[in-house]
Symmetry: C2
Subunit: 335 residues, 2 copies
DNA sequence: TTGTACGCGTTATCAA
DNA sequence: TTGATAACGCGTACAA
């Protein structure tokens, strides 16, 4: 069965491609009412759907937004294993779908992969996750390519960004966990030298401790992969330390591992150990006990990202820095 | 900064578009060695990346595979909230990316959405989830469009499918949970009249019970949404029944809800209640206790689906029915 | 190896 | 105001 093209519609209606194009794109002022109806009927009858390829080639825009996830580190396979991405994408995809845009997902692990992506798909813009070195971005500068940076602490100015106030969020979380007391809090986190985001969170943790008059014991900061396994590993170590009964993790997935290990050892949550996570991933609501965490409303952030990138592409005035709300979500792993 | 096109390369190398095209597509036998090098250098220097739109328009293929998830029922927003899809997509995307194909994701909620999708993107083929009525597929028949059906129990023949043996898997699961005893097992599941897959699983459950000489008590089958919430709700009801201490869920997410509720009521797992899930979603390994479940190696299934759809598109001989392995994964929620 | 028609829409220009 | 003509965008593939 052959493809139905704009020419078929034009022939059917005994008119020209141009007219059909006008109707399809809602330029009704260029076409008479009866022609509009005629064309629309034909489109429906023949089941005509414009080809995005042709559209993208002809027009200036592709209606395609790239979502770019750089992953030099981890295995390249596990895009969706990180529930943060999954949820964020749900929101983003949903918003963009409503706006008639497609999403092209790409996990990048080489420096020029970014540029390649843009050219290959004629992307109109891109939402880029967690970039902290600006090598990748340099090439984009030349193109004035519309980009929205998510959770990026890049120093270079000029880029649109969407973040939460990580320092403040972790400060609040630490304070919450302190309950006004002066007990030590272990921090379990990823390698933070490499990550601006984690640095911010660690800073917030330290600030809260200082303010409460606690000493900052660096040996209480456990760094490793941001995985369930490392959470378990860190918990194992923390279990050996006397008097450390509060644990803050900079990612929910770490908190799950910690909780798992603690419970393996028969520890009562939250009576013996208090644990707090970060992000409020879907799973935090499904665990037992339900995890107290810092919520950043991931789904909504995804939608907001869609809104922002579309505005940026459209040349509308958009703040360079966009901070989203966070909130402490108290559940069952803290007192 | 203007786009670098094939013409730019041709000009740079003082040759024709055709030659450049040959080099890019590896038809080295059509071009002299030195020209190959010259072109490849120019491609690199100018940063040329072929436009997929043009390629798709010119050639017969788009190198795009559609992933189609029909969702008449649930909210349209939550594509990735179902971890089954997330993991499956991880595997699929990974495989197709290696093969140089893009994935276009689409959540369909109207009958013709499918066809529209194919035309819009010039899809080469599609992987389609859980279709049980064939209305949607009818339109495809005409096109001889390459399709791979996942977890579909459609009666109509002629389509390629990839399933697990759901009846058998649930039979085995039930038998496992029985431990050779004759105790009743509650089954928590989605609405199974609508779903061929769930019907199979329910049948397996019944068969195992019969074989073990247990009576099949229909009031022990709890049907609702496939959500964490419904899992909790069902558990609440089961808690009120004396002598029912084994629960099988036809989806992991249901099992999580059940476990959560059971633990809320202070029940010991697996001493007082045994619970078993289905699918072995990522989360099952992260829970406490870790969930005993029927593993179907979702990631691998995703990769296999990529392999299959590519073969189907390529016109290679592929079995119409492809059954994947499952295995009982014994963890901590059963004795 | 190269020239060139072709695929499918968009849009500027021109005509009625 | 309404509609037609034609150039254009970028690769592919076949004829020369």
């Amino acid at each position: 069965m052959r493809r139905v093209t704009i020419n078929d519609i034009a022939r059917e209606c005994q008119t020209s491609k141009a007219t059909v194009s006008y109707v399809i794109n809602g330029r009704y002022n260029k076409v008479s009412q009866e022609m509009v109806e005629k064309v629309e009927k034909a489109v429906k009858d023949l089941g005509y759907v414009p080809s995005l390829s042709a559209k993208s080639l002809a027009g200036r825009e592709s209606n395609l937004i790239g979502v770019i996830i750089p992953q030099m580190d981890v295995g390249e396979k596990l895009v969706f294993d990180n529930p943060f991405y999954s949820e964020f994408l749900s929101g983003l995809e949903y918003y963009l779908r409503k706006a008639g845009c497609g999403v092209v997902l790409s996990v990048i692990n080489k420096h020029n992969g970014f540029e390649e992506m843009i050219k290959k798909w004629n992307l109109d813009g891109a939402v880029v996750f967690g970039i902290d070195n600006d090598k990748m971005l340099d090439s984009l500068g030349k193109y004035r390519f519309p980009v929205l940076l998510i959770d990026s602490y890049i120093t270079k100015t000029g880029y649109h960004r969407m973040n939460i106030r990580d320092e403040e969020a972790c400060y609040e979380a630490t304070k919450f966990l302190l309950h006004g007391e002066q007990e030590p809090i272990a921090l379990v986190t990823g390698q933070y030298e490499k990550s601006g985001l984690l640095q911010q969170r660690v800073n917030g943790y330290k600030r809260a401790l200082c303010e409460a008059g606690c000493e900052v014991d660096l040996s209480l900061i456990y760094q490793g992969d941001i995985t369930h396994e490392y959470g378990m590993e860190a918990a194992e170590k923390i279990l050996k330390r006397q008097g450390v009964n509060k644990i803050l993790a900079t990612a929910d997935i770490l908190a799950y591992g910690i909780l798992n290990q603690l419970q393996n050892h028969g520890r009562k949550i939250p009576e013996e150990y208090e644990v707090m996570g970060f992000d409020d991933t879907y799973q935090s609501r499904n665990m037992y006990p339900r995890v107290t965490t810092v919520g950043q409303n991931i789904l909504k952030r995804g939608e907001k990202a869609g809104e922002l990138i579309l505005k940026i592409i459209g040349g509308q005035q958009v703040e360079k820095e966009n901070y989203m709300d966070f909130q402490i979500i108290e559940r069952d792993t803290t007192r």
